[in-house]
């Protein structure tokens, strides 16, 4: 047993942090938050040049062929920086979907582009408020053409391909489809809690759709993909939570009230201690999740749900109490606390909310001897 990252992985973390400190300072997040850009295209290009989008893609498809332990290291750093790039949609979801279920032809066509960051993938399954399910899907595919609509799809407007869950061509199951963005796909931008990310409602009107994976088996595949993505999102969320703790600590040490640093007041201290405890437990669960993802362990469903719930809670707590620790400053547009408060919620619901994952956790725990 060994519960640590390797020296090479730690080096990668240092490199990633260094790169993002230089290329994704808060000013970049603010630029996207306040401006008209849908994402930081320059940063995305840089990230792709660093090879981050290619991390787990096999070398034969233009990837680096590294492991998920490298990918989680990068995810955490992107979370720390609140990076306004489509990494989750394209890397944790779309790339994973093609890796898991793509035909040779689909892999050959798309993986090199995804690896190079030339193509951005989006992942669309939910069709409206509430928890998505196979039964409630109204998007359908017939004769290779997809029709229907998906709600609040992350990075849809900037994507070149979408992975879409829809009613299967034949029979009543659900399947996943690969939809190149082109004729018959239209996006309608929606305003969200976090304008440093981008989301759109998507309408399909007879766009070409290729089956991805076995017909009628789409929901099972989707659940598996969500489990895998949950670990990666958990690391990104953890990174955000750690940033909040650092910001809160730094501010509390320098801010004086009643003649002494607010960091010396127990109410503040215990708040920060709580953040530390939540982050530490979340990190430990994220380690286990990373290992389970990397080895495709039988424990993956349970490990993923555990990591996801822990990180979602840690990030929410840290992001709201970071604002509280900053007092009035924390509530200003000018201060950066808002980035994390916004992002924590966007990431919390990205692939199913806390309560969805709590439920999955208990279901998964039935299968594993506790």
């Amino acid at each position: 047993m060994n519960f640590e990252f390797s020296d090479e992985q730690n080096l990668l973390r240092d490199q990633a942090r260094g790169y993002l400190t230089d290329n994704c300072p808060p000013a970049v997040v603010r630029r996207v938050l306040e401006g008209d850009e849908l994402y930081a295209e320059d940063l995305w290009k840089g990230i792709a040049e660093m090879g981050w989008t290619a991390t787990v893609i096999p070398e034969e498809y233009g990837g680096l062929g590294l492991s998920y332990l490298e990918l989680v290291v990068i995810a955490e750093e992107l979370g720390r920086a609140c990076a306004p790039v489509p990494f989750g949609s394209s890397v944790y979801l779309a790339t994973e979907a093609i890796l898991a279920a793509g035909s040779d032809a689909q892999k050959e066509e798309w993986l090199p582009k995804l690896a190079a960051g030339e193509a951005i993938g989006a992942f669309a399954y939910s069709e409206g408020g509430g928890q998505a399910s196979a039964a409630s899907l109204s998007t359908t595919v017939s004769g290779g053409k997809i029709s229907g609509s998906k709600a609040v799809v992350a990075d849809a407007e900037i994507s070149q391909l979408m992975i879409v869950a829809a009613k299967a061509d034949s029979g009543d199951g659900c399947s996943l489809y690969l939809v190149p963005v082109g004729d018959g796909v239209s996006c309608n931008h929606v305003n969200t809690l976090d304008p440093a990310t981008n989301h759109a409602d998507v309408t399909f009107d007879g766009a070409a759709a290729e089956l991805l994976g076995a017909e009628g088996q789409g929901w099972g595949l989707l659940e598996k993909l969500l489990d895998r993505a949950a670990v990666l999102y958990a690391w990104e969320q953890l990174g955000g939570a750690e940033s909040c703790l650092e910001m809160a600590k730094e501010y509390a040490m320098g801010r004086y009230a009643f003649g002494r640093p607010i960091a010396s007041y127990q109410a503040i201290k215990h708040k920060l201690a709580d953040m530390y405890v939540k982050n530490t437990l979340a990190r430990s669960n994220a380690y286990y999740g990373a290992w389970a993802l990397n080895t495709d362990s039988d424990d993956l469903a349970l490990a993923a749900a555990t990591a996801r719930v822990g990180s979602t809670q840690a990030y929410y707590y840290a992001s709201k109490e970071n604002i509280q620790t900053h007092g009035g400053m924390g509530y200003t547009w000018e201060f950066d606390c808002q980035f994390y408060y916004r992002r924590s919620k966007v990431l919390a619901v990205a692939i199913g909310s806390e309560s969805v994952w709590q439920d999955k956790l208990i279901t998964a725990s039935d299968q594993v001897a506790a």
Binding site: L272, A273, Y276, D359, S365, A370
Partner: protein, 406 residues
């Protein structure tokens, strides 16, 4: 990173399992013994075969094993029905590491093997009526008399004093210097003349801790650990190890048992486990339980590299105790009116686990540093936040304000 055993670890696990299965005491062997006798019987058998305190050096009864091997042994032992050896916890987990850091070779050879084999039980004589969280406010005094020290005063909350052979003790040797500088650390024979032990009954109904009175108790200077006036630093060694050894979150209500209960009782006409609110709570506790388990695993890798347990170990007790309390309380709620029955005989399924946990956990949140002190430790020593202003800094102990609580 690899959460699975290496080939060597697998071999060690198999060796441990085989030995445990062949040697776990049978009911016949234990017949007629009380809990203490059972504990001693089992500990002795483990020690004789080299399976006690395996991380200690061989010359002291261990086998120089790694922290990970220690965990593997613990995991395997938990799968076998063996007597509870918790009575040795203070001696092995706190006194021994302190002795190893400060005692001379002769004392180590004399005491450590007997700690490993369970022949000696030790207690921790730290807390006093005037010094709990603020341990350095303690008043029991030691005065030099030739080669001896003469001890007078009172300790309180001393777990297991009534059955202990030896004790670790912090006392005030100089009241005229600031409080942390006037303390000195000793170990002593609990049968020394002048020691009087009075049990204190706890809210759980047990009487496991005691008041210990010292009247002109003589302790030879050779039983001092560390320099005169260095008692605070020596105590910190003990306290760090205390937090590491009780850090796991302890026994009591766990995810597995509360989930089992939720599967058997009904809520709104369905098994409680189907209720979304119940599932959410259980999931949160699982996240905490797994988080603690993996946090301990992560510190193991550090310990294997030779690091000493640090203040981050305060997390285990802080999270674990609160969690047990909430889980026990919730389990009782799930049982509704039936939940208040505390009767081990009548409760075949759980043997009053939830009710016993409910009554014992308040003590666990206080013992070994309260929740609030743990949070202070994390804030100050892990995160590096400033201390609160204090009224006792830089002035002689005799001038420190005191209240009515003591």
């Amino acid at each position: 990173m690899d959460f699975e055993d290496t080939a060597e670890e697998t071999a060690f696990r198999e060796e441990a399992r085989a030995w445990l299965e062949a040697n776990a005491p049978t009911e016949d062997e234990l017949a007629g013994m009380d809990g203490m006798a059972r504990a001693k019987f089992w500990q002795k058998r483990k020690a004789d075969a080299g399976w006690a305190c395996i991380r200690w050096p061989e010359e002291y009864g261990g086998r120089g094993a790694t922290a990970i091997e220690q965990v593997i042994l613990g995991q395997e032992e938990s799968k076998v029905d063996t007597p509870d050896t918790g009575v040795f916890g203070i001696g092995q987990g706190m006194a021994a590491p302190t002795l190893m850091a400060y005692a001379n070779d002769e004392d180590l050879k004399r005491f450590i093997p007997r700690l490993a084999s369970g022949e000696d039980i030790w207690c921790q004589l730290f807390s006093e009526p005037a010094g709990g969280s603020d341990l350095a406010a303690l008043r029991t005094k030691a005065e030099r008399d030739g080669d001896d020290w003469i001890i007078n005063g009172q300790k309180i909350w001393t777990s297991g004093a009534h059955y202990s052979d030896w004790g670790i003790l912090v006392v005030r040797t100089d009241p005229n210097v600031p409080k942390h500088k006037g303390l000195t650390y000793f170990f002593l024979d609990m049968k020394s003349p002048g020691i009087e032990i009075k049990p204190i009954k706890q809210i759980s109904g047990d009487a496991n801790f005691n008041e210990v009175y010292f009247t002109d108790v003589r302790v030879p200077d050779s039983q001092r650990l560390g320099e005169i006036g260095q008692g605070w630093q020596v105590s910190l060694t003990t306290l760090m190890n205390e937090r590491a050894s009780i850090g796991g979150g302890g026994s009591g209500a766990r995810f597995k048992t509360v989930k089992q209960l939720a599967e058997t009782v009904e809520l709104n006409g369905r098994p409680a486990i189907e209720d979304a609110g119940v599932r959410a709570k259980l999931a949160d506790w699982y996240v905490q339980e797994a988080g603690l388990k993996h946090t301990i695993s992560r510190t193991l890798s550090a310990l294997s590299r030779g690091a000493t347990p640090g203040p981050e170990n305060s997390i285990g007790k802080l999270v674990g105790a609160k969690k047990s309390q909430d889980m026990a309380s919730f389990a009782i709620d799930l049982l509704q009116q039936q939940g208040i029955v505390r009767d081990r005989e009548q409760d075949e399924a759980f043997e009053a686990l939830f009710q016993d946990t409910y009554m014992s956990v308040p003590g666990f949140r206080i013992a070994g540093g309260t929740d609030e002190i743990m949070a202070n430790i994390i804030a100050e020593r892990v995160l590096g936040l400033p201390q609160e202003p204090r009224m006792d800094k830089g002035i002689p102990f005799t001038e420190v304000p005191t209240g009515s609580g003591a």
